[in-house]
C-alpha cells in the first residue's frame, strides 16, 4: 500500500520544497507543475514519471485547487498522512501570506488616480488572459459544431443570471448519467 514508508525527515523537506515552489512561481497553479515535477520526480525520485502523471490525473479529477491536490497526493505517497499535511501546508501558506500583504496595500492605494487609470488598462488585459485557456481547451474538446452547443448553452444560462453553481451541478448530473449508461453497456 502506498504511503506506509514514512520518513520523519521527508516531512520537513516536503514542506520546504512546496513552500519554495509555491513562493517562487507566479501565474497560477499550472505554472507550478514543471517545478513540482523537477523536484519530486527528477531530483529526488520520490515518485516515478508514470506515477506523477497518475497523480496529475487524480488531482485534476478532484475538485478544488489543482496544485494543492497535487501536493497532498505527492506528500501522501512520500510520507503518509503527515507527509500530505506537510506538503499541503507548504503549498498554502506562501500564497496566503503574500496575497494578504498585497491585499492590505492594494486596498489602501486602489482609489489613487494613477492606480485607477492603470487599472483601466489592466482590466481588459486580464479578460484576454482568461480567454486564453478557452482556446487551448477548445482545440482538444470541441471537434464539431454540435459540441459547441454545450459551452454556448452554459455561458448563455450564466449570462442571463442562472447561478453558476446550479449550472455546474446540472451539467455534472447529465454527464454522470451518460457515463453510467455507457459504462454499463
Amino acid at each position: 500500500m502506498v504511503g506506509n514508508t514514512a520518513h520523519p525527515r521527508s516531512c520537513g523537506q516536503l514542506f520546504l520544497i512546496f513552500c519554495k515552489i509555491s513562493l517562487f512561481t507566479v501565474g497560477g497553479g499550472l505554472a507550478m507543475l514543471p517545478f513540482v515535477e523537477r523536484e519530486v520526480v527528477k531530483r529526488r525520485n520520490w515518485v516515478s514519471e508514470d506515477e506523477f502523471l497518475d497523480i496529475l490525473g487524480i488531482s485534476q479529477s478532484m475538485p478544488g485547487v489543482m496544485i494543492v491536490n497535487v501536493a497532498t497526493t505527492v506528500g501522501f505517497k512520500v510520507a503518509g498522512k503527515r507527509g500530505a499535511c506537510s506538503a499541503f501546508l507548504g503549498t498554502v501558506i506562501p500564497p496566503f501570506v503574500s496575497i494578504l500583504i498585497v491585499a492590505h496595500y492594494f486596498l489602501l492605494i486602489k482609489d489613487n488616480v494613477w492606480i485607477a487609470r492603470a487599472l483601466n488598462g489592466i482590466r481588459p488585459a486580464v479578460i484576454a488572459l482568461v480567454v486564453m485557456p478557452i482556446l487551448s481547451l477548445s482545440r482538444a474538446a470541441l471537434s464539431d459544431k454540435k459540441s459547441l452547443l454545450v459551452p454556448a448553452a452554459v455561458a448563455g444560462l450564466i449570462l442571463f443570471g442562472a447561478p453558476p453553481v446550479y449550472v455546474l451541478l446540472g451539467g455534472i448530473a447529465i454527464i454522470l448519467a451518460v457515463v453510467l449508461r455507457k459504462g454499463r453497456g
Partner: protein
Amino acid sequence: MIRLILLAFSFVKIGILGFGGGYAMIPLIQREVQQFGIVGGEFIDILALSQMTPGPIGINTATYTGYKVAGFTGAAVATVSNVLPTFALMLVAAHFFYAFRANRRVELFFRLARPLFIGLIASSALLMMRDIRIWQDYKACGIFLAVFVLLYRYRFSFWMVFILSGAAGLLFY
C-alpha cells in the same frame, strides 16, 4: 460573526465544486463574492493581483475576499474553508490511488465535462466584459484585442502584458 459564517459557507462551496482548474472556478467565485460587495471592476482587479502574486488563483481570491470582508480573521476563514474540504477528499482519494487511476469512467467523465468547463470560463470572460462595458469603451476594446494578439500570436508573458496594459491605461484614461 454572521459574515464569517457566510464567508466560510461560500468558500467551502467553491472549494468542493471547483472542478476543472482555477479558470473554471472563476464564475463560481465571481457569483459568491458579489454578496460581499466585490463586483465589477474590483473582481477583475483581484484576478490581476492573483496572477501577479505567487500561488494558485483559488487561494489568492479566497484570501483577498476574506481580508476585505473581515480583516485577517476573514482571510484565514475564507482560505481554510476553500482548501480544507478538498484536502480531506484528497487524503481519501490518495488511499484509493490505484483503484482510481485505472478507472475508465472517470476518464470518460472528464472528456465529456470539458465543454462544460469551456462554457464556464467563457461565461466569466463575458460577464467581466459586461462589467467594464467593453462594447461602449473603444479604448478597452482595443487594449483587449491588442493583448489577445500579443498573448496568442506572440506568446507574451503575463508580466509584459500587465506592464504594457497598465502603461496603456495611464496613457489613454
